[in-house]
């Protein structure tokens, strides 16, 4: 199949979309002493875009049809129509357009699925999609002015806008998902990340970022700042529960506040073939579903069910999972729902956001970049998925096919039929 461009008004046919490349900045601590305290948020994205292009010199930059970049807070150094401003700042041809996008934590994921949709219908050939969040410069909810009707009309529970509180609500709803299980999950995430780092599975996807500190001079960020290797269950058993006295959610089983950016390169299957771009994943299906905002953490369950149904797949068909670890309990709820063990080895092989951090609107592309690498390492796996919960009660899931698998269905090429 190719884009049907012959004749005026002719119908387009749907094209395959492939994930070509993804990179991210090292993730930093969103604090005044964090590595990115003196670095602009948009510059993080600019450098990620340039690194992406450096890695794909075969892509003529004037072939990029869109730059979609997400941020949860779109003011200050995350304002000014991010996709477009980053395109200009990164030195892309002025003909390359861009826009800003927001679906809270699923911003980058939505940037991917939105531009993928444009590729699928043939409106675009090649897109850059990603997200960034400098939570040090933009604390969660900065500048937000929630409509009083939310509370007055009891549209949402008063806890719905405090993500940690929604995680406590999940513990309430699923009492068997205990703090001990959450802590164990958090510790495992740190261990898996440390192992992946040692195995060289993390660094290759990182963009080195020059850092300037007026007191220390220039430096270079080449590694994630937040992971705490060697964390034990005992270490985190007695951490404070900031969201509820006597609660269960702690810094040990939740993702920390993070600065970072992640950007991916998507292309139509046939265009990737034409330009010699590798197809590292093929997009199979995606779905977003809303849930009660006060238990937003269960969002990935219905979105995954919907995305699987669209693809006529079942959970058993999925060999690798990249699920965002906003909170351990939210991952546990997902695993519990699908009858998977807490330490299912198909899940988050490189650890997750509890270890590496969660720069809100950037995380979706981190999940995809990691899944793409795992696909290469696991040619026996045909399908994988990336999923995440989203503030204000949503889940998002994208199902991907592994081109390295023997039965890979193939993606569209310039030859047309597949």
């Amino acid at each position: 199949m190719t884009v049907a461009s012959k004749g005026s008004g002719s119908r387009r046919t749907v094209r395959d979309v492939v994930f070509v490349e993804g990179v991210r900045t090292p993730f930093g601590k969103a604090r005044p002493d964090g590595i990115y305290a003196h670095t602009r948020a948009d510059d993080l994205a600019v450098k990620a875009v340039r690194e992406l292009l450096r890695r794909r010199p075969e892509l003529p930059t004037d072939r990029i049809d869109e730059v979609a970049l997400a941020a949860t807070t779109q003011t200050g150094d995350q304002g000014l129509t991010l996709g477009r401003s980053v395109a200009v700042l990164a030195g892309l041809p002025k003909s390359v357009p861009g826009f800003a996008i927001d679906r809270m934590c699923a911003g980058a994921m939505t940037a991917v699925t939105t531009t993928a949709s444009a590729i699928a219908i043939g409106a675009q050939d090649v897109t850059l999609a990603g997200g960034l969040e400098h939570m040090g410069h933009h604390p969660m909810g900065e500048g937000a002015d929630p409509n009083p009707r939310f509370v007055a009309e009891k549209l949402v529970d008063s806890t719905a806008l405090v993500m940690g509180a929604t995680a406590e609500n999940l513990h309430d709803r699923f009492p068997h998902l205990t703090k001990e299980r959450a802590d164990a999950y958090g510790v495992a995430s740190q261990a898996k990340y440390a192992k992946a780092l040692a195995n060289g599975d993390v660094t290759p996807d990182l963009v080195p970022i020059a850092l300037r500190d007026p007191q220390q001079g220039w430096g270079l960020a080449t590694a994630d700042e937040l992971p705490r290797p060697g964390t034990t269950v005992e270490d985190i058993a007695h951490l404070k529960t900031p969201f509820r006295p006597g609660g269960k959610v702690t810094a040990g089983n939740a993702s920390p506040l993070t600065d970072g950016a992640a950007v991916s390169l998507l292309a139509a299957g046939d265009v990737a073939a034409e330009l010699g771009l590798p197809a590292r994943m093929r997009l199979v299906s995606f779905a977003y579903v809303g849930v009660d905002p006060e238990v937003m953490g269960i969002g990935p369950i219905p979105s995954t069910e919907k995305a699987l149904a669209q693809a006529s797949l079942s959970i058993e068909d999925i060999g690798l999972f990249e699920i965002n670890e906003a909170f351990a309990v939210q991952v546990l709820a997902f695993l519990d729902h699908f009858g998977m063990p807490d330490d299912d080895e198909r899940v988050n092989q490189y650890g997750g956001a509890i270890a590496v951090g969660h720069p809100l609107a950037a995380s979706g592309v981190r999940l995809m970049t990691q899944l793409a690498r795992q696909f290469e390492q696991h040619p026996e796996v045909r399908y994988g998925l990336t999923t995440m919960c989203v503030g204000l009660g949503m889940g998002g899931t994208v199902v991907w096919e592994n081109p390295h698998h023997a039965d890979y269905s193939g993606h569209t090429t310039t030859d047309g039929e597949n």
Partner: protein
């Protein structure tokens, strides 16, 4: 060496901040040193004694780490927008003794040579401005990268009476070859034309050029490649001795033809360059130290720093009224459509971005003026110096007319008609019936009385002089003339307009010839006077060489046009008396339209007088009792200039000698090493001899007497 100078102040110490960076691919640890004075981009990083001491300490520590095998490379970069703007000129000009000056050179070398003797490869990441001692930091490293947005790389020392004495004079010719080194060290500084990043890369001052958005990341990646050996930088061989010597000899000849030995710095630089091929690093650096010490203790260097400060600070004009009094200018009228008028129309349209109405008596003249604007804009657009859209905007904003009533909508009208007082008065009188009561009337007169021009008007307070220099686009000076009744509002508007036109404005009183023409034409008058009295025109033409002016007096005559020169000379003589000589010979020359100079021998070398014009003057032959030698002519000119400056200061033409110097530097191109003119007159004793006093306090633009 620096763009930052003020009256003596404490050193803004540049710190050497070091952080370790892991190089990719297992290439080891890079120690990354940032030069940072801790201040924002309005305060460029400069290198004074404190900063050099910190740098020495940091590099010494790194050398020890390198010896212990802890680091694989060292790199130096700067805070955003600057590598470093060079040595701290304020500190340099404050040096009191030769020993101190010698130490300044030595301490810089001691710091910088560590970069070449680190034991591991050293890199400079030229992330921004790199001037003088700033660029020499990079030159002393083994490798250099430069960011595409670095605005300027240069060794401007020779223009400031110094030499690139922290390794530059030795390292540049070895790096880029002797011929290009002459450009870097001698030609560019005198043309005030620094290298752009790409040019610097192309001639080999930098080994790699990386785009700005991720310059540092790219530089560090490149460093890893160099350390690992996957990238190899080829260095050119030393130029062969015959080539080296021939270039040096050619340059020396050129220097003699232009500078005539009037200042020491370029010669000292040339000597260092000549020796750089065979000298060892120790010998070369020691020679640089000696040259620096001599030059720092020279009046030429002190005058240059004074001049540099004047020019840098001239943008805040002395004696201007409160800028808040300025009236908005939203529509400009230009009376006349001749060459000057058309140049003004273009400048106003370009810089003020307002509608400009140019008016002359008949349609043909108007068309002529408009044609000039159009062809000039087209030239700017085709050569890429102006965008097509801007060109279209400028052209559409300039409008020509023969109808004087069209000035009714202008709030600022400047006249540029023929220099005849009666004509200008008539123009102003006619205008007054048309323009609004608040409209400012400006005159571009070069020598007529602005006060008289305004005398018969109902509102003389609105009249102000705005004397531009030809060619208007290039010449940076405007003399803003306050006439007897000029209001503060009119004056403030004139200063505001000058600023918006990006000219340096100097406020002057309404005295004949203001500053530049009064002194320049006096100088020419004294030259022709000498010639009328029997001095050989060739002697007269050479006589001023010790001043190091941009060209000889007859070449200057040729440039301004003998007719214009004669006109101003006559007019000044009428107003100021026979200090301004009369010259029948000059009148005859002008009447016959005879060219006064021979064709210039080569590009960049000023033309000299045509000996044949001797026939026009005096007896028609050189010689006789009144004939002077070169020293005699020079003396006569300097006495006359000193006398005149004394009169000008007494008359209050300007606030002080500094404004005279600023005018002569920007309006006549008089050299930095003379400090304009008054430092030269002070140091040669003319001001004491003629006026009985110095013009500037001792030590301001010279080496103070007690320490010399």
């Amino acid at each position: 060496m620096s763009t930052q100078t003020t009256t003596p102040r404490a050193e803004r110490v540049t710190h050497s901040l070091v952080r370790d960076v892991e190089l990719s691919g297992g290439a080891g640890t890079l120690a990354l040193l940032t030069l940072d004075n801790g201040l924002d981009h309005t305060k460029p990083t400069t290198l004074g004694p404190g900063g050099i001491a910190e740098l020495t300490a940091a590099l010494t520590a790194l050398q020890a780490r390198a010896a212990r095998g802890e680091i694989a490379a060292v790199a130096v970069t700067g805070k955003p927008y600057f590598l470093a703007a060079g040595a701290d000129l304020t500190q340099v000009a404050g040096v009191r003794t030769r020993d101190e000056a010698l130490e300044l050179g030595r301490s810089g070398h001691a710091a910088y040579r560590l970069l070449g003797e680190m034991g591991v490869p050293t890199f400079a990441y030229v992330n921004g401005l790199a001037l003088g001692g700033g660029l020499e930091v990079a030159l002393n490293c083994d490798y250099r990268t430069v960011a595409t947005d670095a605005p300027a790389l240069a060794l401007p020392e020779v223009g400031l009476g110094l030499v690139p004495g922290w390794g530059g004079a030795y390292l540049v010719p070895r790096l880029v070859g002797i011929e290009k080194a002459m450009d870097v060290i001698l030609t560019r500084p005198s043309a005030n034309k620094p290298f752009k990043a790409k040019e610097a890369f192309e001639i080999g001052l930098a080994d790699a050029l990386f785009e700005a958005p991720d310059f540092l990341e790219s530089s560090i990646r490149w460093t890893a490649d160099v350390v690992r050996g996957t990238t190899v930088v080829e260095r050119r061989e030393l130029d062969p001795a015959p080539v080296w010597d021939a270039v040096v000899a050619g340059t020396r000849k050129q220097l003699d033809a232009v500078v005539h030995g009037s200042r020491p710095a370029p010669y000292r630089a040339l000597d260092l360059l000549a020796a750089a091929r065979t000298a060892t690093k120790d010998e070369a650096f020691a020679a640089e130290d000696e040259a620096l010490a001599d030059l720092i203790m020279s009046d030429e260097m002190r005058a240059s720093v004074y001049a540099f400060q004047l020019v840098s600070h001239g943008k805040r004009p002395a004696g201007a009224p409160d800028p808040k009094l300025a009236r908005p200018v939203t529509s400009v009228g230009i009376v006349g459509a001749g060459l000057m008028a058309a140049q003004l129309a273009l400048l106003f349209a370009q810089r003020l971005g307002v509608p400009v109405t140019m008016r002359d008596l008949d349609a043909e003249r108007v068309q002529h003026g408009l044609d000039y604007v159009r062809t000039t804009v087209e030239k700017l657009v085709t050569t890429g110096r102006m965008s097509k859209d801007t060109g279209a905007k400028v052209l559409s904003s300039v409008h020509g007319t023969t109808d004087i009533t069209e000035f009714s909508r202008c709030d600022f009208v400047i006249e540029a008609v023929t220099e005849v007082l009666g004509l200008k008065k008539k123009v102003f009188a006619e205008l007054e019936g048309i323009i609004g009561p608040d409209t400012i009337l400006a005159t571009n007169t070069s020598a007529l009385s602005v006060t008289e021009m305004a005398a018969d008007l109902a509102h003389p307070e609105r009249v102000v002089g705005l004397h531009f220099f030809n060619p208007v686009a290039q010449m940076p000076l405007v003399e803003v003339v306050r006439a007897e009744k000029t209001s503060d509002e009119a004056l403030a508007t004139a200063f505001a307009v000058s600023k918006a036109l990006r000219k340096t404005a100097v406020g002057v009183a309404d005295r004949p010839g203001f500053v530049v023409n009064r002194l320049l034409v006096l100088l020419l008058g004294k030259i022709v006077e000498a010639v009328e009295n029997g001095t050989s025109v060739e002697v007269a033409d050479r006589a001023l060489r010790p001043l190091g002016l941009p060209m000889g007096p007859f070449a200057l005559f040729d440039l301004v046009g003998p007719a214009v020169g004669l006109h101003v000379l006559t007019s000044l003589r009428e107003d100021l008396g026979d200090r301004f000589p009369s010259s029948p010979g000059l009148e005859k020359l002008v009447a016959e339209g005879t060219k006064v100079v021979l064709p210039a021998p080569a590009r960049g070398i000023p033309a000299s007088v045509d000996p044949a014009i001797q026939a026009y003057f005096g007896t028609g032959e050189a010689g006789g009792p009144g004939a002077l030698d070169e020293a005699g002519v020079l003396d006569a000119v300097l006495v006359a200039l000193t006398t005149e400056i004394g009169h000008m200061l007494d008359e209050g033409v300007v606030q002080g000698p500094e404004q005279i110097d600023l005018c002569m530097i920007l309006g006549a191109g008089w050299p930095f090493h003379d400090g304009g003119i008054t430092p030269y007159l002070d140091r040669t004793g003319y001001s004491e001899k003629v006026l009985g006093r110095r013009l500037l306090p001792d030590g301001i633009a010279n080496v103070p007497a007690q320490v010399a």
